[in-house]
Symmetry: C5
Amino acid sequence: MTFWGIEVKPGKPFTFNAEDLSGKLILTQATLGTGSATKKSILQVNVGDKSPVYLCTLLPDKTESCSLNLEFDEDDDVKFSVVGPTSIHLSGFVQGDVEH
Amino acid sequence: MTFWGIEVKPGKPFTFNAEDLSGKLILTQATLGTGSATKKSILQVNVGDKSPVYLCTLLPDKTESCSLNLEFDEDDDVKFSVVGPTSIHLSGFVQGDVEH
Amino acid sequence: MTFWGIEVKPGKPFTFNAEDLSGKLILTQATLGTGSATKKSILQVNVGDKSPVYLCTLLPDKTESCSLNLEFDEDDDVKFSVVGPTSIHLSGFVQGDVEH
Amino acid sequence: MTFWGIEVKPGKPFTFNAEDLSGKLILTQATLGTGSATKKSILQVNVGDKSPVYLCTLLPDKTESCSLNLEFDEDDDVKFSVVGPTSIHLSGFVQGDVEH
Amino acid sequence: MTFWGIEVKPGKPFTFNAEDLSGKLILTQATLGTGSATKKSILQVNVGDKSPVYLCTLLPDKTESCSLNLEFDEDDDVKFSVVGPTSIHLSGFVQGDVEH
């Protein structure tokens, strides 16, 4: 079990593959980054070539953190991106020794 | 374990069956789609011929995401639909190799 | 694993027993029903002859859904009831083949 | 697995020990009691002789319920108490047959 | 399984290592401490020499508690710190007998 955390910035998607992580990613938290924007920021994910799916929406000064419970163990690439003005910090952990 | 995500639009229910997924659906998140409506949107489910049950309510600009922890492993059909003006993105994962 | 969902209406408690369900009830979500009341509605439970315990409070137009993580595997009767003007939809799943 | 629920009132801490429960307490929910106070109420815990730790804060008419995921399996005494004007209902379940 | 709880104060990071705990830390809750500040406080973590990751944001009088689901079983040092004016209480439990 290893902690996993990144900051996804607007316009700079983060793409990874389960093999990069040598295990299954368990994503459990999203938190709004620093910034003065008042508009919402949405975390979305593209898995392989499927259309994007919204995972959560963070609202400045109202809802700036959100629990998640998502597992990524795909052969496909997984791309996290932000729709909105502010970065989103993602955290969770990688569960190792998982047969692919 | 495979990521599962869809967008359910008002007036366009999404129906599936565990056999379509070759596994158990674990639904863990609902997030409001894009739109300018200010009224709430409710996610509801019909399992087989039973009456609908509300699963969560999303309020524009207040509560736009909601954690869920629901498992669907039914022989019956499962129908997700939206009551309200805005689509709802659902996400979770499919736990494979489950005997029916 | 089978989906479980009901609507508990004010003044109409819902009583059940684990034996009715042939398994353990895992209650994971509560969502406010339809109505125009602005006052809060509280979900409470009585197990056997013990005094009632509040499980969650839903506030119209503020907090209309709530995650839960409660397991009911009792020999006693379990009674859900609503304190307030609006019904509450409960959902979760029944984990079968559990020795009593 | 047995349901566990209590109401902790201001000025009346609730102290227990895992041996009283013949199992591990899994605390999963806190809900504000009845009252007209507008100030927040904080649930805190003392384990043995350690200093108190805040577990959650409930805000009347804003956030009146809170999910928790805490396990108590201590040899020490565990004391729940409320800082604030309104009682807090706690619920969860006791997982029996756990070797101490 | 043992309860784990601390208060992280602004300017006073808390650093630990899994070996200090003789087990895996499962962090499940963060709650705002006492204070009159109206600005938000952010909980962040540094694992080893990696850059900080925000874990949650607490907003006085709006969102003063937050569920978490993070596991720390690292060989590296883990440092929790607060960005903002108010302390944050962290709670969870230590799962012992985990091979490193």
